[in-house]
Symmetry: C2
């Protein structure tokens, strides 16, 4: 990240934030999408307002902790919509008191030890891209004297490679691009490309059970993890490394998704794969979204396991600049480092046609071309747009779930109806991942921003969306994690006795409850 | 199981136990395999010796509990080698005091309630095929007044089917054959065929993280489970049903592998698939086992995901009556209900040839033919042979693990050397499952039985095998579970803090520690 500066309030690089002309254009586009909107360019925030820290840096952490204003401001929160609103207002009143950047696992343990002794909260911090309040220093304070942001950036890099077993030991603080850059010379890749790829870390992916590149088969980062190390206030929990095991409940699975509430993930052995050399892709259009849903189901249940099988409804296709003719589109792609995929794609297209699809691009053997290329570009640009839209007076946000194929039609209808009733102007849907038993629907909605009442407005929409998803049987999150935002619905989804079990685990590993208070438990 | 009687001491049906002539032939075969052996036909056990129960059936359980001798004898233990030895001696001194067969989840809860009130141990009992002491009534007693065997046989059958989402709600006490029989009319199958298939239940598979049919990809029952219900002494834990989720640590994964120590699994929503209509299979011989290992690795890392990819070393090929010429053999098979698999098999055979393999059977599009058919038959007969060999004065047993491809050569050499030094005459190896990061090696060993000192002899061999596997980095079990036998090595493999976390969970769900005492925790 040398030389480039991350925005203190918006998504991503400061220099990639759209300029006034671009934002004006965006505002006009928004008005096309949401006719009731009256977009207006707002002034961008000036210098952040950051209070003095409440405590001094303890001697034991002096070598690797800092307290300067900008650094603390940058660790105040994630990038959920309310984070953007508060950041846009220049409000950093709840910045953490210090930022620690331990350089090894022993220093991570030292941070936990100091915080436990003093009763300070610790927020593990990877790339800070949480959209669910997972790194919210204000809420983590929990009436404690101080909040320490434990930034894992110094625990970075690929440390060891076992090419025979296709495993790489990687520091938790490694950002996506560096991780891929260091694997590339060896011919390997993790193939985990969440939307936050550029600004998020391996440790964050593991702690939040991130979903990634593959649209079918093993899609969560969980499935690509061979072993990991978690530093807790009670010591280090290093899991046994094995391809698979039947020895009791799997320890890895208790750590994956623990969101910093049980300790800090410091490194992991990850399953890597050779860079694909064979590709086969195509785009299929459907007159009706329902046809695309049926095709996606057939594909998910076929055993063909395409790497890409993303279904976009007409609004989503439009938003991602893939198609503008009111059709839904299924982006299909296979990849392999071992064999040509002609037979795979041929059968997938047969299935798509059987459900009313028309092949509108491909088959192609190239990567990142045509509609899939347009989609990929728009996909990684989307979070920038959200920030930019906010600055034009528009509210744009996303939420996601997973449900069974049987549940989907009612869930979809309810989401659309309830969000529409709550004031959303555009409600677009795509399937980010599809499984034999159901899809992972992902919703984007846009509404005119209620200036001055942005947070209250967003809370209503979030409440409506979450109630719809939960009420229709979906999980409260397929890959955005729970954090603090999803907690009420997570508590309803989670079996009560599992909640009690998790609390007992927390009490065992973090008896002073200093680790990311308010998350999960 | 109507009309047929299970042996009280040996594997499987009483009427399938080999007669004297067959056992004599087996003894002669054993002598060929282990020249130092002097097989001798031993008298089969007579009537079991079962003590009177220590307690009467409590009023609350009277409707569904029994105490007759044979029933209690049949619930005394599993089918590990020491179980066979003690059963062969007619010793049922530690039979449980009563056998409860609850007819619904409420009656399961009632059993737990009564046992908690009285401080009795409860051993959840599916098919009783544990080979690791998982249902051992003697060890479960733990100095308590009584042991109750909680047999789930009455919680059986496919209760609900969602054909669209390919999900079936199935009672935990459903045996393999019934489960498949009830899915078949709907065109579905679970495709989970562990060696114990005929005599084991869905609940047992889930509680022990059983490995099954598929040799690659999602091989454990864990991956086929959508949701489940666990009745604990503190109430019912029913997990949320979803195709996938990122909402905190996955509750399912804490229950899977809990081996009855956290409560009783009463039912589960399982992912089912249509019965395959396309098949493609072949057998490939290798002059050297190492070539087969390299081919298996290439295949596991290819992304082709064959349903069958079992590598047998020369001894294993001989034992399973597949090949007798000293070559190793790779049994390869693809299956699909969606598409022909010509391209898949063609590439797999190319990979096998690249590593020195010779196709010796196939390609075929039929199921269960030739060498694969011979193997399958021998596979399901093997546990019968173990019992029969015991009755001829031979010790035969198996153990298994999973390790990385990098670890395998040293692990294999150590297992062979140490077991040989400990007196094993034949040590055969096969890969039951293969993953991108490593194989699951499965070992069979045969030795002359030290009559009168069978248990001590077995304990030494088990100790040597477990030390070799654990010492070389393998997991103590890939799919046989931990039970009580693997506990010492499990405790070393399990991160200490995970052990503490699990103990805290146990304390939360089963504070009186009545559920399968001595297992896991």
């Amino acid at each position: 990240m040398t030389g480039r500066v991350r925005s203190l309030w918006a998504w991503g690089w400061q220099d990639k934030f759209p300029d006034a002309a671009a934002r004006k254009g965006l505002g006009e586009l928004a008005r096309v999408l949401v006719p009731t909107a009256t977009p207006a360019l707002r002034d961008l925030p000036g210098e952040p307002s950051v209070p003095a820290p409440r405590v001094a840096i303890p001697e034991a952490l002096a070598d690797f902790a800092a307290q300067d204003l900008r650094d603390r401001a940058a660790h105040t929160r994630g990038r959920a919509f309310p984070d953007l609103v508060v950041g846009f207002a220049g409000d950093f009143a709840h910045a953490p008191d210090l930022v620690a950047r331990p350089r090894d696992a022993a220093e991570v343990a030292r941070v936990l030890e100091v915080c436990e002794q003093r009763g300070w909260s610790v927020v593990p911090f990877g790339g800070g891209t949480s959209v669910v309040g997972g790194v919210d220093a204000e809420l983590a304070r929990a009436e404690r004297e101080a909040v320490v942001s434990l930034d894992l950036v110094a625990l970075a890099g690929v440390r060891e490679l076992d090419a025979t077993s296709r495993l790489a030991r990687i520091g938790a603080g490694t950002f996506g691009p560096r991780l891929e850059d260091e694997l590339a010379p060896h011919g390997f890749t993790l193939r985990h490309f969440p939307q936050s790829f550029e600004f998020s870390t391996l440790g964050g992916w593991l702690a939040t059970r991130a979903g990634g590149h593959y649209a079918t088969g093993p899609t969560h980062i969980d499935d690509h993890c061979h072993a990991l190390e978690l530093v807790t206030p009670r010591g280090t929990l290093a899991t046994h490394g094995h391809p698979a095991s039947g020895a009791g409940p799997e320890p890895l699975r208790l750590v994956l998704g623990s969101e910093g509430a049980l300790g800090v993930i410091t490194e992991a052995w990850m399953r890597v794969v050779p860079r694909p050399t064979f590709r086969a892709s195509a785009s299929v259009a459907f007159a009706r979204f329902e046809q695309g849903v049926a095709a996606a189901r057939a594909l998910a249940q076929s055993g063909l396991q395409p790497a890409n099988a993303r279904l976009l409804d007409p609004d989503e296709a439009r938003l991602h600049r893939v198609r503008f003719d009111g059709t839904a589109v299924l982006l299909l792609g296979f990849e392999s480092a071992d064999h040509p995929l002609t037979a795979w794609l041929a059968r997938a297209l047969e299935l798509a046609r059987d459900h009313g699809g028309t092949v509108v691009a491909g088959p192609s053997e190239k990567s990142g071309e045509g509609e899939a290329g347009a989609w990929k570009q728009a996909f990684f640009a989307a979070p920038y747009l959200q920030s930019a839209l906010l600055s034009t007076g528009m509210l744009a946000d996303t939420f996601e779930t997973a449900c069974t194929w049987t549940q989907f039609p009612a869930l979809h209808a309810r989401v659309e109806q309830d969000l529409r009733a709550a004031g959303a102007g555009v409600i677009a849907c795509r399937f980010t991942h599809v499984y034999p038993d159901g899809p992972a629907p992902y919703y984007t909605f846009i509404a005119p921003l209620a200036l001055g009442g942005e947070l209250a407005q967003w809370r209503v929409l979030k409440q409506v969306a979450s109630e719809a998803v939960h009420g229709a049987g979906g999980t409260i999150t397929h890959h955005h994690a729970v954090g603090r935002t999803h907690l009420p619905w997570y508590r309803r989804e989670r079996p009560a006795l599992f909640g009690a079990a998790l609390a007992a685990v927390k009490q065992t590993l973090d008896p002073a409850a200093i680790c990311n208070p308010g998350v999960l438990t």
